[in-house]
């Protein structure tokens, strides 16, 4: 989907960030760089919950009077529905705060174009492997506290299953709630299994915790940037051939999904 240039508007990408993991915010800055390089907006900035600039500092960085806010989060939930609106003082899809007009878009993870990104990742990591002999598992954190955090993943699994991509099965699995990703081999009837972590960054979960749950590693390792970035696919484990990709958010083309969310926002809210 293409987006018309907005030379008088700013884009504000909101991420979680981390005071402990330097890799956590890398994808957000990559997405911002990618969009900035296309010259679509007067300015492109990032802000965070756990890094600088904070969401409340962000307004001081922005010259433009119109600001599109896109949460670079994988699902709708506590952060996108409570924390971000509160921090940015947003009360609806469009809010005027201190003379600036903020448009609050949906998070990237719930956009239908995520489906293509997941398929692209899966095909890249298992190039030449027949989908008919492959189970594709999309994995996320999962928490009993918020059903929305698993809904985005379940939706993607359903969309890919219905897409004609040809996988023998497309499943969702989680770190902390059933179906558990640790049981990837039991839930897969095929010799090949591709696991795509549905996270924005290669942080603690996708690069450190899930590899242990998959059985690829015995203990939690260092952060992604502090060791080899690409793992040695495939992994021959538990009688199967396992392909493990980096987090879906590290895909540079996620920048397109950010733009898609803005385009959708305009269609829904600006055409009224």
């Amino acid at each position: 989907m293409s987006i018309a240039p907005k030379p008088t508007s700013a884009l504000l990408i909101v991420g979680h960030g981390s005071t402990e993991n330097p890799d956590s915010s890398t994808p957000y800055f990559d997405h911002a760089d990618e969009i900035r390089s296309r010259g679509l907006f007067a300015e492109v900035h990032c802000c965070f919950w756990k890094e600088e600039p904070s969401m409340r500092e962000a307004i001081y960085m922005i010259d433009s009077d119109e600001i599109y806010v896109v949460p670079d989060f994988i699902s709708e939930g506590y952060f996108t529905q409570d924390v971000i609106p509160r921090e940015l003082q947003l009360t609806g899809p469009t809010t005027v705060v201190r003379g600036k007009t903020f448009h609050y878009c949906l998070p990237v993870g719930v956009h239908r174009s995520m489906t293509d990104l997941i398929l692209r990742r899966a095909k890249e990591v298992a190039a030449g492997i027949d989908p008919a002999s492959t189970t594709l598992i999309i994995t996320g954190h999962g928490t009993g506290l918020n059903q929305n955090s698993t809904k985005a993943i379940r939706d993607q699994a359903d969309l890919i299953a219905a897409s004609g991509a040809g996988y023998a099965a497309v499943l969702d699995a989680y770190m902390e709630e059933p179906p558990f990703i640790a049981e990837w081999d039991k839930m897969s009837d095929t010799p090949n299994v591709v696991v795509v972590p549905f996270f924005i960054s290669d942080g603690l979960h996708s690069y450190q915790d899930i590899p242990v749950l998959l059985g690829m590693e015995d203990e939690v390792g260092a952060a992604a940037s502090q060791r080899e970035v690409f793992r040695h696919n495939p992994h021959h484990l538990r009688g199967k051939t396992l392909y493990y990709t980096s987090a879906i958010g590290t895909e540079r083309l996620l920048a397109d999904v950010i733009l898609d969310q803005i385009s959708d926002f305009d269609k829904i809210h600006k055409s009224l």
Binding site: K50, E51, E57, M61, E87
Partner: protein, 230 residues
């Protein structure tokens, strides 16, 4: 007037320092050159004195993420910025992009403060908005928070920001080196630098509040356990 234009005017008026960054104009044909303040002299020598040259703002994030010893600079005000490099920039816009990586929002915060529009948040407001495991940070006592400021903030503890916040609307910070610091590292007059401003407690401070609050809670619980048998 855009922030970039206001920055240009500030540089023309004699400002040449933000945090640990030295900002120079018109060096060997480059409109803007930035480097670590300790490399300022070297950067004016031919071929930038052998400093590693970075063209454009793209490497600003990498340069500001890790200290010389490889540790993660988890707050941007830390006074452990890496040395040995120089960044050449073609425009005020590129300079702003670079500065917002080294010291996020530093120019905007300064300009807002000068214009009287900077909103400052008290520590209590910041702590009361924390989520998840950081929610516990809000139970820290006032004396505990005052002590933390003196143990964590200010140049003695590697932070170059000027603290603007209070504990709450009625409780200023106790007088200390940290609370008095003007946000300008090095011996420089205020007319030559844009100070780094701390308009809300950083996430590192919040994390330390949580630890201190837990310690206070455990100490109280231990004292309560001892009392009945005393």
């Amino acid at each position: 007037m855009s922030l970039a234009t206001q920055l240009r005017d500030l540089l023309r008026s004699g400002v040449h320092r933000i945090g640990e960054l030295e900002l120079q104009t018109d060096v060997y044909g480059f409109p803007y050159v930035i480097c670590h303040m300790a490399d300022a002299e070297l950067s004016t020598e031919p071929a930038f004195g052998g400093l590693e040259i970075h063209e454009g703002p793209d490497d600003a994030r990498d340069l500001s993420t890790y200290a010389e010893d490889g540790t993660y600079r988890f707050t941007k005000g830390q006074t452990n910025l890496k040395r040995g490099w120089v960044m050449v920039l073609e425009s005020e816009g590129d300079l702003m992009l670079a500065l917002d990586q080294f010291y996020p929002a530093c120019v905007g915060l300064f300009v807002a403060r000068q214009g009287g529009t900077l909103e400052i948040e008290t520590l209590r407001d910041k702590l009361n908005r924390q989520t998840g495991m950081y929610r516990f940070a809000r139970s820290i006592s006032d004396p505990g928070a005052q002590k933390l400021v003196q143990e964590i903030c200010g140049p003695a503890h590697q932070c170059a920001k000027k603290i603007l916040w209070r504990l709450d609307a009625d409780t200023p910070l106790d007088d200390s080196e940290a609370s008095r610091f003007n946000g300008i590292p090095g011996d420089l007059s205020e007319s030559e630098a844009i100070p780094l401003l701390c308009r809300e407690a950083c996430n590192h401070f919040v994390a330390e509040c949580r630890k201190a609050a837990k310690a206070e809670f455990e100490a109280k619980a231990a004292a309560a356990e001892i009392k009945p048998s005393a």
